[in-house]
């Protein structure tokens, strides 16, 4: 009986991304016959899972790329095939563990739907019709265009070398900076957007503005925890997740979980308080009121380090942010607020967990400020069991010789934003201003990499229009995502297990530097991102230099003075000079220079290095390792330098409250018959990038719609029923999961499902895409996306 589950077989005859041209004319599947032959090559396993052998194997240190954490592991490679990913016991951040996604990384590398070779669009945008081409042809299409789309050369000529006509976006990862070097510094575009403005920008920003750090937590020594919104049992963050749940449930850390939904984190808490979405700020202000009213704060600490402390105290007391005031706003009982405030301040080492999650409400920046100040009131900052500033290992800075483009205009995505961030901008404002014609100059090109705005930026309909508006879209990625389907040229990247990545530093309390090494060579015709950057830069450098020569008066002047050859070389116009050395060689150079050849030897072999590692690192028992002895950990590093900015006057100059203040427009309300949609994560998925992973899909088949059981019963909705979810911006269909774990006026859906790309065999048409349903609201400080402000209608279909 032949019953091995092979997804590769499913692909035969399936309606997938159409590849036409060359030897593949007439095939209708994503992979040509030729490619199937390649897939059957010894480089790709024949079955989904492969039992590990007992013979010879290589163990290559890697850093996981399934989410943003960068946990360390060793890839077991047998006969050129990765058979297992094991945790790396040397990295203090990930503490010898890999989560389900980390373990399933093999399925991402060997995903049969991988982008395998460069492709150029030959059909309508979004139709998925592509022609397989060589790398040279793909680069040429970017430069010169085809019959269907214009190339970069023509566009820049038409725009008189205004490099700002190029926009670009990028997802998180170790090769991110290289892409920013290529398009931002070398090609000269300031119009960059990334995951920051659709993720946790205000969390980082609020904490930095208040304490000067987005802190780590020393869970090993804390004894009281308020965790609000963040769901550490399901949105796994290392080392927080591992450290925290060993001590919950009566084993050291008394835990209060504040979340509209009963999550797996709530299941581990001592107390779960369902808060009205977006009203945590009222809860924290009321906690703060109790502290001031009963004089529970560490007054000496605040007198010493607080800035505007007395004013903040008066502000809280005079606004009468009492628990009785907060109760109807946040839905948490006044008596609970009194109890928590007292318990927190009486604890030895209390922690109000600072992060980490996306932005749910327009007041998120002020919420983070209020949380940081509340934590400071306990004095449990820059010390054991509290917020940690630590001592990160600094790697030497790298310099890029970037040309200066006289014709490039500044970025413009500032409408409605108090403090626009120069670096990463605001995805929503950037996109919307272009759609509304508010851009002062044409933006005609999008360079995209490892980023799927069709499924990550709220209001997919607008993202679609935005991408359709461009003259040229280029995508570098590993899978044919919904966004890749709007690209004119697709460049296939090697997955994280196939590439060596730039060395990186992590951790504050127990810092280390880490290196991801390629476990196997790039599969198919894919290339490492840094090789793609270099080759593309080489291709573009001279022709685009010619355009600058035509329009750039400064450049013309310099050439007159110093000669063309010299200027091209010395002023950074040779775009490829940022990638002169391969990544591995460059890593060696950096690490040897900073820490010596022995450090490099350790890093290259173990994937991890920190000073005194050989002396400090030891196994304590089958499950635990010592990374740094306790007396060598960086618990307290700030001394008298720390500050708690309670009143931040600079904010007021742009109309932002200098002290966290509640405004009634933030009150939670849902019209009768509607629901507030909230989104989030399960431990088995990261985002849209993991929904085509066979192993993970096996664990969580789809994104169910959580709906309150009583409400579902009244609506005649049962488990597994298909329902339509509809907002003012879009709709989707998914299956219902009636549960008591959610309030009657709210529904929850897992982020990252509902792909429309037919190139993704498992993700296509599975569940609903939350980005298509969420309104594109922004918060006022950075213009970052607010995820929990959308009301929806639900009906059984």
């Amino acid at each position: 009986m032949e019953v091995e589950i092979s997804r590769r077989r499913f692909l035969q005859g399936s309606v997938a991304l159409t590849v036409v041209g060359g030897t593949m004319a007439g095939t209708t599947a994503l992979f040509s016959e030729e490619e199937k032959a390649t897939s059957a090559s010894p480089r790709v396993p024949k079955t989904v899972t492969t039992k590990t052998g007992t013979g010879k194997a290589e163990e290559i240190p890697f850093l996981c790329g399934m989410c943003v954490n960068k946990c360390a592991g060793f890839a077991r490679v047998e006969n050129g095939i990765i058979t297992k990913l094991d945790p790396n016991p040397y990295f203090p951040k990930s503490r010898n563990m890999l989560c389900p996604r980390g373990n399933a990384g093999i399925q991402t590398a060997y995903d049969p739907d991988r982008l395998k070779y460069p492709m150029v669009r030959i059909g309508k945008r979004g139709s998925g019709k592509y022609k397989r081409v060589s790398w040279e042809e793909a680069y040429d299409a970017i430069l010169n265009g085809t019959k269907l789309f214009k190339g970069l050369k023509q566009i820049l000529d038409e725009e008189k070398d205004n490099r700002s006509t190029i926009g670009y976006c990028n997802g998180e990862g170790l090769s991110k900076e290289g892409f920013e070097t290529l398009v931002g510094q070398k090609l000269g575009s300031p119009n960059y957007v990334d995951e920051v403005s659709i993720c946790l920008e205000t969390a980082g920003g609020g904490f930095f503005a208040t304490l000067g750090v987005y802190p780590e937590i020393d869970f090993e020594h804390s004894d009281y925890l308020i965790i609000s919104g963040a769901n550490r049992a399901e949105a796994i963050i290392t080392p927080d997740t591992m450290d925290m749940f060993k001590r919950t449930k009566g084993r050291g850390i008394k835990t209060v979980c504040i979340d509209p939904r009963f999550t797996n984190t709530a299941a581990k808490a001592d107390k779960w308080l369902p808060v009205n979405p977006g009203t945590d700020l009222a809860f924290v202000l009321a906690l703060t009121w109790v502290v001031f009213n009963e004089n529970l704060q560490n007054e000496a600490f605040m007198k010493k380090y607080g800035v505007g402390y007395e004013e903040y105290k008066q502000h809280i007391l005079s606004h009468k942010y009492t628990p009785e005031w907060a109760e109807p706003i946040c839905g948490i009982k006044a008596e609970d607020i009194y109890t928590i405030a007292r318990e927190f301040m009486n604890a030895e080492a209390p922690v109000y967990y600072p992060g980490r999650r996306s932005i749910f409400s327009p007041n998120d920046y002020q919420l983070r400020r209020a949380m940081a100040i509340f934590q400071a009131l306990s004095g449990n900052i820059d010390k054991k069991g509290g917020y940690i500033y630590g001592n990160p290992i600094m790697l030497p800075p790298e310099y890029v010789n970037a040309p200066i483009y006289a014709q490039a205009k500044p970025r413009f995505d500032t409408e409605g934003i108090a403090f626009p961030t120069l670096k990463s901008g605001s995805w929503i404002v950037f996109r919307n201003m272009i759609l509304e014609g508010k851009n002062p100059y044409p933006v005609r090109v999008m360079f995209m990499r490892k980023h799927n705005p069709m499924m990550s930026v709220p209001n997919t309909a607008k993202t679609r229009k935005f991408l359709e508006k461009m003259d040229l879209n280029v995508m570098i990625d590993i899978l044919p995502s919904d966004t890749a389907m709007f690209a004119d040229v697709i460049l296939p990247e090697a997955s994280y297990l196939e590439r060596t990545s730039p060395v990186k530093s992590y951790g504050f309390l127990e810092p280390a530097i880490v290196q991801r090494k390629a476990a196997i060579k790039p599969l198919y015709e894919t290339k490492e991102p840094e090789v793609i950057y270099k080759e593309l830069a080489e291709k573009l450098a001279k022709p685009l230099f010619e355009i600058s020569k035509k329009y750039d008066k400064d450049l013309q002047e310099q050439i007159k003075l110093r000669g063309e050859k010299k200027v091209f070389k010395e002023d950074g116009w040779n775009l490829a000079d940022a990638w002169e050395k391969p990544v591995h060689e460059k890593n060696k150079e950096i690490v040897e220079k900073a820490f010596g050849p022995k450090a490099w030897e350790i890093l290259d072999e173990k994937g991890v290095y920190y000073p005194h590692m050989e002396e400090y690192h030891k196994q304590l028992n089958p499950n635990e390792f010592q990374y740094y002895p306790k007396n060598r950990r960086f618990y307290s590093t700030m001394g008298d330098k720390k500050r708690v900015i309670c009143k931040y006057d600079h904010l007021a100059t742009r109309g932002i409250d200098p002290m966290p203040t509640w405004h009634d427009e933030w009150k939670f309300s849902v019209p009768e018959g509607k629901f507030r949609v909230i989104t989030g994560r399960h431990a088995q998925f990261t985002q849209s990038g993991t929904t085509n992973n066979a192993m993970l899909r096996d664990l969580i088949p789809t994104n169910y719609l959580w709906i309150n059981k009583g409400v579902a019963k009244k609506m005649g909705i049962e488990f597994g029923d298909m329902v339509e979810i509809k907002s003012e911006v879009g709709k989707g269909r998914l299956m219902a999961y009636p549960t008591e774990k959610i309030a009657p006026n709210q529904v929850f859906m897992l982020h990252g499902f509902g792909s429309e790309s037919k190139g993704l065999e498992l993700a296509y048409g599975n569940g609903a895409n939350d980005a298509a349903i969420l309104k594109d609201d922004i918060e006022p400080v950075f213009g970052a996306a607010v995820m929990h402000s959308t009301n929806v209608e639900i009906r059984k279909v």
């Binding site: 010898n96 591992m242 499950n623 664990l699 009583g710």
Partner: protein, 187 residues
């Protein structure tokens, strides 16, 4: 020769299923919800929103209990199920005729059919993969984010598991059946 057992600090479990994935990847287990050697048992929460009983929601990681007195071994007509030299309950797929007596006899529902060999499969404590390579951890133990499991030799009084069982209270599942599991749940 050892007598392998496992202690589970089950309160650490966050139901992330890293163990299940590691097991499948290590041992080449088939995909499919009903094809797992290990799993996490979940109790649906009791109560009506917002008054939910937190303690009613528990995650119980589970797998073959590696009984010293295994009902599956007793009922197997072909002696396909056997204790190996380390006390691990194993299945010899050459002898298995898929009569499924063992699947019915197992009080822990720890056995399933491998569709490739059309024989019964179950947790082996990674005997033919990791242990065969000289490692002393199972895939599920090694990868666990919150370090639920401790695997080791129950006959070695110095082993971590022996020390844990001496120093911490623990219970076995369905102890009343007299199966004498070698999986111990720490309280």
């Amino acid at each position: 020769m050892a007598r392998y057992g496992m202690a589970l600090d089950y309160k650490n479990c966050i139901n992330c299923k890293a163990c299940e994935v590691a097991c499948k990847e290590e041992n080449g287990v088939l995909l499919g919800a009903d094809k797992h050697r290990i799993w996490v048992g979940v109790n649906e929460i009791e109560g009506v929103w917002p008054n939910l009983s937190i303690s009613s929601s528990s995650f119980l990681p589970s797998q073959c209990q590696q009984c010293d007195n295994a009902p599956c071994e007793e009922v197997c007509p072909t002696h396909a199920t056997y204790y190996d030299e380390n006390g691990v309950v194993r299945v010899d797929s050459d002898k298995c005729i898929l009569c499924s007596y063992c699947m019915n006899a197992c009080p822990y529902d720890a056995r399933y059919v491998d569709d490739r060999t059309v024989t019964v499969d179950k947790c082996t404590f990674c005997s033919d993969t990791r242990l065969a390579r000289g490692l002393t951890t199972t895939a599920c133990q090694n990868t666990c984010p919150t370090k639920v499991r401790t695997f080791g030799d129950l006959d070695d009084p110095e082993s971590e598991i022996s020390i844990l069982l001496k120093t911490r209270d623990h219970f076995s599942l369905k102890a009343n059946l007299g199966t004498e599991p070698k999986l111990f749940y720490l309280t």
